[in-house]
């Protein structure tokens, strides 16, 4: 079963259980196992980080191919890499391994979750489970912020390139480009928050509403059981660790 075909709660449970286990299990073996699982998950079909490449409601979960999966893996690895560098500078090798593998698990799990979880499916699933639509939207919007900001940053960089500011070159040039990117990225995102709040209000998304689930994703018994198993596994691991 591919990541995007799993029920959103199952995706959340996996993405939550892996980092929890990484910190509970003894390092480096336990953390290495969870990091390996998290990194393999980034290569599962359905994970993608490209906004606008949504497969459409009939094609939910259809893989966009290995290229997209490799982008997810690369994003996870590149995000975790600086942590390894700092850990190496600050700690000895065993400690670096122990903490680095745990952080890698956290990063890879989150990147995989963002890539595999369709925010709209999460909203539908939460509304069907009785959550308030505004709370569901808040959580889903948070998870979708990464690809949205990435796309916005891409547009800003392209606009800046048109005006002669190249992000390529040496370290100094890249730092200059990063500084030039940060301000418009943050300011435009903040400005959009106000307009989006108005738009969502006028589309009926207000506190206290009871939204009709349009197409709640199926939640098979086996997945519900699997989520309980994950929770139990964390509890058992925690108990064994401290007993």
């Amino acid at each position: 079963m591919t990541g995007a075909r799993l029920h959103p709660f199952t995706l959340l449970a996996i993405a939550g259980a892996l980092p929890a286990l990484a910190w509970i299990l003894t390092a480096p073996a336990g953390a290495a196992a969870t990091a390996a699982v998290a990194l393999v998950l980034t290569l599962t079909p359905g994970a993608k980080l490209t906004p606008g490449a949504s497969p459409g409601s009939k094609g939910i979960g259809i893989s966009q191919g290995w290229r997209q999966r490799l982008v997810v893996l690369r994003t996870a690895v590149l995000t975790a890499a600086p942590f390894w560098l700092f850990l190496l500078l600050l700690h000895d090798v065993p400690t670096t391994l122990a903490i680095g593998l745990r952080i890698t698990t956290m990063v890879a799990s989150f990147v995989w979750l963002v890539a595999a979880l369709e925010p709209a499916r999460l909203v539908e699933a939460m509304v069907a489970a009785g959550w308030r639509a505004s709370v569901a939207y808040l959580l889903a919007a948070t998870l979708s912020a990464v690809p949205v900001l990435k796309a916005r940053a891409q547009r800003i960089v392209e606009a800046q390139r048109c005006r002669g500011l190249s992000p390529r070159g040496g370290v100094a040039a890249r730092l200059r480009a990063l500084r030039a990117l940060a301000l418009p990225l943050v300011l435009s995102a903040l400005h959009e928050v106000d307009e989006r709040a108005l738009a969502l209000e006028t589309r009926g998304l207000a506190p206290g509403i009871h939204r009709t689930p349009l197409a709640p994703p199926p939640d098979p018994a086996v997945e519900r059981a699997a989520r309980w198993v994950l929770l139990l596994a964390c509890l058992v691991a925690l108990t064994r660790r401290f007993m």
Binding site: K58, V123, R211
Partner: protein
């Protein structure tokens, strides 16, 4: 029957001393189309936000005077890309986002969404990913999304800004149709040439206050044209030094020549 009534409404945005609206009194009846015209910063968009109950409830700020609404309102804001829910795989889902938030039964949601898609000629795009649409297409989707919520009072802020001429003509026809169906329409637009055929009344705003109210003939008035708010025909007539009264439309100009 009256759908919206503002009495001496004044509005201040947060942390501002001067009001964006000053003592505005205005009524919009069911089946009526009222157009707000004015220079940038005249207060038309703010008036729409007040009418939609978004200001000060969402924007913050302070409102004085009274605003009475009989019907549920829906507002189309001028930037379609910030109005998309971001929670839809398809145009159909995007249009259904609002009706679903109203808690309607699914069959009613489907009926309203299909009707709105037909009205905006969006049926061929129903399965498209909203993020792949052009600005004009997305604007039509957002308008459909508002209409699918079946508001009694429809507020448009520069509704044709993203549309090509064909799309704009379709929208003006739709607005007339909505009024015939009994909806109250309040719109702010700089597409002044369309108003003689669309609006029942024109409200000229200046510095947040109502400067004049009248039929679309107001757009051929000497004072209005002097302020840059005349129709193209009236403005050209005036610029040519031809004697008044200025014609409002090409048809009126032809009658004058003959």
């Amino acid at each position: 029957m009256r759908s919206l009534k503002l009495e001496e409404a004044s509005f201040w945005y947060p942390a501002t001393e001067s009001p964006a609206l000053r003592g505005v009194s205005l009524e919009v009846a069911q089946g009526e189309i009222v157009a707000l015209v004015g220079a940038l910063g005249a207060g038309a968009s703010t008036l729409l936000l007040v009418a939609a109950d978004l200001a000060p409830r969402v924007t913050g700020g302070r409102l004085a005077g009274s605003v009475a609404r009989r019907d549920r309102s829906g507002i189309v804001l001028p930037t379609p890309w910030t109005q998309a829910s971001g929670m839809a795989f398809t145009v159909w889902d995007e249009v259904a986002f609002g009706p679903a938030n109203l808690g309607w039964p699914t069959h009613e949601i489907a009926r309203q969404v299909d009707r709105a898609l037909e009205q905006l000629e969006l049926v061929p795009l129903a399965a498209r990913d909203p993020t792949t649409l052009s600005g004009g297409e997305l604007q039509r989707v957002i308008i459909a999304a508002i209409l699918a919520m079946d508001p009694g009072l429809v507020l448009f802020d520069e509704p044709t800004a993203e549309l090509d001429p064909d799309g704009a003509r379709t929208l003006w026809r739709l607005i007339r149709l909505l009024a015939k169906q009994g909806k109250a329409i309040l719109l702010a637009t700089s597409a002044l040439d369309a108003l003689p055929d669309v609006a029942d009344r024109v409200v000229w705003l200046e510095d947040g206050a109502v400067r004049a109210v009248g039929t679309p003939d107001l757009l051929a008035d000497v004072t209005t044209c002097d302020s840059g708010l005349g129709t193209s025909v009236a403005t050209v007539w005036r610029s040519s030094g031809l004697p008044g009264p200025y014609p409002l439309t090409v048809g009126h100009a032809l009658q004058r020549w003959r």
